[in-house]
Symmetry: C2
Subunit: 165 residues, 2 copies
Amino acid sequence: MGGEMSHKAFQDYYPDHLSHCYGCGRLNDHGLQIKSYWDGDETVCTFEPKSYHIAIPGSVYGGLIASLIDCHCTGSAAAYAYRAEGREMGTEPFLRFVTASLHVDYLRPTPLGVPLQVRAQAKEIKGRKVVVVATVLAQGEACARGEVVAVRLPMGGEERMASSK
Amino acid sequence: MGGEMSHKAFQDYYPDHLSHCYGCGRLNDHGLQIKSYWDGDETVCTFEPKSYHIAIPGSVYGGLIASLIDCHCTGSAAAYAYRAEGREMGTEPFLRFVTASLHVDYLRPTPLGVPLQVRAQAKEIKGRKVVVVATVLAQGEACARGEVVAVRLPMGGEERMASSK
């Protein structure tokens, strides 16, 4: 865990103008600042909800769980897409994904007061689309499962770079 | 619009101990305090995201959209369930629903800086389960569609009341 945290997070490679996301933007002081990392062939994000991220007593708010899955999966989509192209994350042209669809199954109440881990894998990488599946765990127990269809954002900078070649 | 807002919101009928939800709890000072109302046979929630509820520039964060759909649909599930039982909202035994699954299709970027409207209808009411479908609109244009499978929460108070009868 210490090892993985010493590396730069996927989201820290996003260009500044795409780093204001409430879920994962490093430049959003009000946001969640979710950070995602490689862990072998999976990706992992650790997040400890605040006491006010509550749903019913003792449980984490489902909308927060959806947010963790959303941002961790779009970040993971970028990481898998870079890897599929054999490129280092953050190299140009930049790869940044947005969410086309999000599905979450809440398997059991997610306990509040402990760190959550979101683990994800790419299920499909095809053209501009990456499908990512995720599991949210609390103390090793799966509490929610999610699937995100992530679509690569057309990048103004990239288009300009492409046309200037 | 003025008329609908003058009524008590669905969430204002929740018992105090179930009113701390980050999305819709009236007792959560850090939360979104989403409010849902009847509008004929549909339900409606109006919410204006803050400037920091941003995704990519100019667009509303998808996790916030998921949260609006989530809480508006569980609130709507309770309202439809009361109506199906021919009871006034807030009468005992209390009906409070939680989310079993959430699906969101993001149709287009949702513009930031305008009020959003979430409109929902019950698609199925069966036993403890209510399936609710929702559309998120900005300036009349559908930006996201959602579906929530909501399940009625067993209520400690209700069980005690039932056993004391």
